[in-house]
Symmetry: C5
Subunit: 324 residues, 5 copies
Amino acid sequence: MIKSVRLEAGKPPESISLSDISRFLEKPRGIIWVSLEKASNTEIESILSGVFNFHPLAIEDCESIGYQTPKVDDFDHYLFIIANAIHPDANLKDLATSELNIFLSEHYIVTCFTDEAMSCVQNIWQRMSKDDRLSARGADFICHAILDTLVDEYMPLLDKMDEEVEWLEDQVLANPETATLERLLTLKHMVMSLRRVISPQRELINRLTRDEFLQISAVSRIYFRDIYDHLVRIQDMSESIRDIVSGAVDIYLNSTSLRLNTVMKALTIVSTIFLPLTFLAGVYGMNFKYFPELELTWAYPALWFVFLLIVVLMLTFFKKRQWF
Amino acid sequence: MIKSVRLEAGKPPESISLSDISRFLEKPRGIIWVSLEKASNTEIESILSGVFNFHPLAIEDCESIGYQTPKVDDFDHYLFIIANAIHPDANLKDLATSELNIFLSEHYIVTCFTDEAMSCVQNIWQRMSKDDRLSARGADFICHAILDTLVDEYMPLLDKMDEEVEWLEDQVLANPETATLERLLTLKHMVMSLRRVISPQRELINRLTRDEFLQISAVSRIYFRDIYDHLVRIQDMSESIRDIVSGAVDIYLNSTSLRLNTVMKALTIVSTIFLPLTFLAGVYGMNFKYFPELELTWAYPALWFVFLLIVVLMLTFFKKRQWF
Amino acid sequence: MIKSVRLEAGKPPESISLSDISRFLEKPRGIIWVSLEKASNTEIESILSGVFNFHPLAIEDCESIGYQTPKVDDFDHYLFIIANAIHPDANLKDLATSELNIFLSEHYIVTCFTDEAMSCVQNIWQRMSKDDRLSARGADFICHAILDTLVDEYMPLLDKMDEEVEWLEDQVLANPETATLERLLTLKHMVMSLRRVISPQRELINRLTRDEFLQISAVSRIYFRDIYDHLVRIQDMSESIRDIVSGAVDIYLNSTSLRLNTVMKALTIVSTIFLPLTFLAGVYGMNFKYFPELELTWAYPALWFVFLLIVVLMLTFFKKRQWF
Amino acid sequence: MIKSVRLEAGKPPESISLSDISRFLEKPRGIIWVSLEKASNTEIESILSGVFNFHPLAIEDCESIGYQTPKVDDFDHYLFIIANAIHPDANLKDLATSELNIFLSEHYIVTCFTDEAMSCVQNIWQRMSKDDRLSARGADFICHAILDTLVDEYMPLLDKMDEEVEWLEDQVLANPETATLERLLTLKHMVMSLRRVISPQRELINRLTRDEFLQISAVSRIYFRDIYDHLVRIQDMSESIRDIVSGAVDIYLNSTSLRLNTVMKALTIVSTIFLPLTFLAGVYGMNFKYFPELELTWAYPALWFVFLLIVVLMLTFFKKRQWF
Amino acid sequence: MIKSVRLEAGKPPESISLSDISRFLEKPRGIIWVSLEKASNTEIESILSGVFNFHPLAIEDCESIGYQTPKVDDFDHYLFIIANAIHPDANLKDLATSELNIFLSEHYIVTCFTDEAMSCVQNIWQRMSKDDRLSARGADFICHAILDTLVDEYMPLLDKMDEEVEWLEDQVLANPETATLERLLTLKHMVMSLRRVISPQRELINRLTRDEFLQISAVSRIYFRDIYDHLVRIQDMSESIRDIVSGAVDIYLNSTSLRLNTVMKALTIVSTIFLPLTFLAGVYGMNFKYFPELELTWAYPALWFVFLLIVVLMLTFFKKRQWF
Ligand SMILES: [Mg+2]
Ligand SMILES: [Mg+2]
Ligand SMILES: [Mg+2]
Ligand SMILES: [Mg+2]
Ligand SMILES: [Mg+2]
Ligand SMILES: [Mg+2]
Ligand SMILES: [Mg+2]
Ligand SMILES: [Mg+2]
Ligand SMILES: [Mg+2]
Ligand SMILES: [Mg+2]
Ligand SMILES: [Mg+2]
Ligand SMILES: [Mg+2]
Ligand SMILES: [Mg+2]
Ligand SMILES: [Mg+2]
Ligand SMILES: [Mg+2]
Ligand SMILES: [Mg+2]
Ligand SMILES: [Mg+2]
Ligand SMILES: [Mg+2]
Ligand SMILES: [Mg+2]
Ligand SMILES: [Mg+2]
Ligand SMILES: [Mg+2]
Ligand SMILES: [Mg+2]
Ligand SMILES: [Mg+2]
Ligand SMILES: [Mg+2]
Ligand SMILES: [Mg+2]
Ligand SMILES: [Mg+2]
Ligand SMILES: [Mg+2]
Ligand SMILES: [Mg+2]
Ligand SMILES: [Mg+2]
Ligand SMILES: [Mg+2]
Ligand SMILES: [Mg+2]
């Protein structure tokens, strides 16, 4: 689907047709925003190549499926930006990303995505009619608004991961099960993936803030810096989550060997008590002809006294060693 | 709460009203310090936006709750600084931070925080009437004094953590319990959080020392360098604590398997002694018709001699192997 | 084998002889591409030294067998490039590389390899007659096309490794065997080797993009940047695979100790139940003259009740502790 | 204690009084060296502030107790240097440092320490009357001589640690005890502390070599480079010690589980041999009326043969599995 | 021993005396090479200080025993280079290094070593009479030839280590013994030491390639770059060996706990089978007056059936759990 609109300060947004775009590009007045949503390859080629005449490599990037690393390419007359939105699944099992492509010049902004939906683009498109600033401040400010929304959408995931990790940390102390370890490792996995998406995205925004691109005014650069701060914070949080996960895995692994210790102590206590007793009972079960103790009336009760003495002594010994 | 004061070299601080501030900003004489304490969003907007006309992104940062990474933003006419004070809880379980925002220009300093209290600001406010240097040396020197106090407040925490880690290190050798491991991991956790607060704070102070900001005189830069030295030292100490914690965790984990060894040795010694004895007793408890040994008078005492011999030989063998 | 061809925009490729090359070098028109395939040292020396007079060190690099790190050397009139294609074996056990040497100037490109085959060179050679762009855009574009194909050939390996690691991750949870660990470690090994090939290759392409080599036009630089993006993505994927492998090894190692726990619990349950029972049976097998219990008619059935009571109590105790 | 001396090329050192210093500073001839040893705060303030008028922050650093990170501060007319000498205790248990402060200008050098003694300063003070070069080459050469001696004093510690680690490495193989682990961890601890002292010290000397400080002549810079080489070597050695310690800890930890294996094998061999034997003896101790074997004359000796057969078979089986 | 020779393009090398050197230095024609082999301190001082008047710090470095980090010092008129050759012992147990000192100017090269022999110097000395290029291309080319040979001598060690690590990797799977672990750790140790020698050597060669030293012509710089490539490759290989060693140690450590699992399973199977059997035998060995089962004729054979049933059931259970 292709949507296009012309914006001018103080005026409401005006929908335009494809032929208007070509006329506008020859003689720009105000700015235009063309949005390719759930774009097919035919749409991409007819607009991006046919109308705007963008570089074939940039168009190839728009068309190619599969994850692409965020970046900004400077094609003199326009910037080509790749950014990635995230779509965590409900159970925090996997991190799906969807790609947003932006072409930014002084006079226009073209956004393009091939996935079903891209909320950051669609939100800003709707805000256009209400928020005057979007019309008044140029294409770079619209680009900022879209990327700011895209980055803001990372926060709920991080909050969810933070909650999950807190819960798992408590769980690992109270009731360390294999399922807990698996969830910890899945979470670690997700944080690692997240970091690999965020890190080049941060570098991308940093370049928009720092490099003197003609397409981005000095005033807008401060706004991109605000997105940068957000990404720094998100990276901080993900590192923090990774640290807690590592600590929780350590507690888990130690709990495994602690339980082994408990099991072995139980076995050792029972064995060291009953093996000597059983031996003694075996001795007085022997069938020797000459066996003086067997004749004594007090021998049997006396042996029970010895049995009890051994048990008490053993238990005292293990108690002293804090085995239970 | 909003407090404001005008300072001039050689004169006592003079309280001023909000309307005085506007007049001062048009025609500055001396410097003013405006302090927003436990500030509500209404106060922030009326002063920072209404009176000072600061950038909306900076005001957004002042209003937003939640941790923000320390930074300095250069808005040409003024610097906007975010720093973080720390509030460790009494049991060293968690590291709470509270945010301080500073707007610094040649002619004024505006400090702002939304939390209950911020001792570094309040201490310097009180010192103002006693310490002439604060009036005489300009807004950048007041800014230095506040940040110096903020950083100095990290030291008691580090000393406490240092004490705790020393105690835990001894504990882990003397009496390694799960509680000790948990405290170690909590401490490691805190050191990691601390490092993430200190590192950008250090970078922030470093920029104030190194970048040639108009708002900071060459003379003051040396004073910011003094804060930088402190932060380097604090970072060093936190790395040192992290190393000791790691070492202590290693000792702890090894103690777990050492204790397992002890337990298993006890079991093995008792089993290898009594299993053969019990077998022998079992043999002489058999009911064979033809069983010549049972008839011999010396057989029973002789068997006891064999029992003792086996015990002594086994114990000698284990002693040689240093099993106890 | 030596193949050589002259290319001019708008004309079909024209095969040329060795003597044509010498004449061309004196008075270039269009560009030539000389391809040494499965080259012997005699061929290398006669062409690269005899005809082109390349630097002896570059020729030494072409002749030397054994892995060489990717690089680009600038010999003023021409660039000398070493790149490495990969040949993973079918079972993902080992990573064989084969070396491609390229000499690039404004007027010619010379490719050279000593191995049996090099598909990226041979593919482009065949594409030459169909794709006009190769004739029209100069030697640097042909160089790009070859390196792009060489890098694209990495993808199938990474996809295979990705599949393998996913399978192993599931395997390690369902059925952790030594063979699984060995395959995980082999995979880790391969990822490490791969990273060591990719990293300097990425640096090589980066230099071709960034350094202002006379042999590479500004237009072509964007195309090399496209290869660079691919290598960044490949490095990302290999890091991701390495992370999953590490996580899987962790699960595997923990499964080993979990199984030990299961084994020891079984032993402990059986021992702690039967050792007391056997002791009691031993007691009533003793031969004391004075042994009142033996005379009672209800003693034997009563003892069986005690036996069962002990078993039930023990099992309840272990059940409560969740030992099974 | 305050000592001061005036040095001129070709003349013996001449002791001077405090008032001479003030006169010298107005009209310098030759160079002076003022040494504050075991300095009290009164002495520091009267000389460093009163006579030399040094910056209050530098004086604060001299007075402050507690470890300070090595650094050099450039106060235009003079450099302020903090370096740290080390005092390892005899048992290699802890690494005490003591701080040396140096103020260096073209015309004077002021050294200051608050600890009991500082051998590097005191050695050079004594060498002054013997070694002409110290008088002839200026204050920067004296500074070099002091810092060179300070760094040379690190070597004996590193040699001692090297010896200790070699001994511990052999010990861990021959006789791995908890005490060995503790010493290894203490050593690791010390190496880590040492690295944290050396690393900024190396950076400090590097800056003296590289930055173009007015106070240090081009000729002297080569001499500071010689100290730098020493620190590089010291850092190398400490990394090497750290590596060997890590390796030794690995061997130690494995020895713990190897010993557990040995213990468990002993238990298993004894149990698997005697449990079946005891069962068989128990069988022939049963009191069944109908029990044909008990009547046979050869049954008892035959059973002993079976006992021996079981023992031999079991031992052969374990021998084959290389269990002993 | 001191050897010296004068080289001129197109002429055979001509031996010269010490007095010739002094005369040459005043009025150089061609180049000279002075080689101090197995040099005593007297020789070093008479030649390096007396004749060449080199800097005392460089001479100190030549005389000092013990390992010195590779480096290049620029003394304006000449470069001072320290490089390290390696002498692995036959059993790959330890890595001995021997130091080579080179003084390089436009007109002369002085090589100096204090050890018994230095093959790279001696080889080039012999090649001098055969290889014209050494005479024709200047002192920097001779320096390159020596360092190239020195670096080439690292390869056999790396090949040997590579072979050793491959053998150990197989060994650790087939037959993991403590000796294997020790050899792995020794190898890891050696790789670490090697890396610490190679890394500054690489930096040294890199500086000779990159820094614009007057003593090294642009043409020679390409030759030093060839040595640099070699060192990069050597460093790569050593990292690869380190990785394989780590992987092999992991397999080894896991094999220890796998064997513990096997041992414990054996114990558990034997115990859980025979403890119940022994209990039952004990029951029918009791001496109760009222014991109805003992009177039944079919009781004894029936019990053997029960015994066998228990054994079969248990073995089926363990078989199902894949315990053997
Ligand atoms: Mg795409
Ligand atoms: Mg640009
Ligand atoms: Mg997608
Ligand atoms: Mg945002
Ligand atoms: Mg926002
Ligand atoms: Mg919690
Ligand atoms: Mg913000
Ligand atoms: Mg805030
Ligand atoms: Mg807060
Ligand atoms: Mg401070
Ligand atoms: Mg202070
Ligand atoms: Mg202690
Ligand atoms: Mg200070
Ligand atoms: Mg080759
Ligand atoms: Mg090959
Ligand atoms: Mg490609
Ligand atoms: Mg392509
Ligand atoms: Mg999966
Ligand atoms: Mg692309
Ligand atoms: Mg001090
Ligand atoms: Mg001290
Ligand atoms: Mg020295
Ligand atoms: Mg010296
Ligand atoms: Mg040794
Ligand atoms: Mg030296
Ligand atoms: Mg030497
Ligand atoms: Mg040596
Ligand atoms: Mg070589
Ligand atoms: Mg060579
Ligand atoms: Mg192999
Ligand atoms: Mg080469």
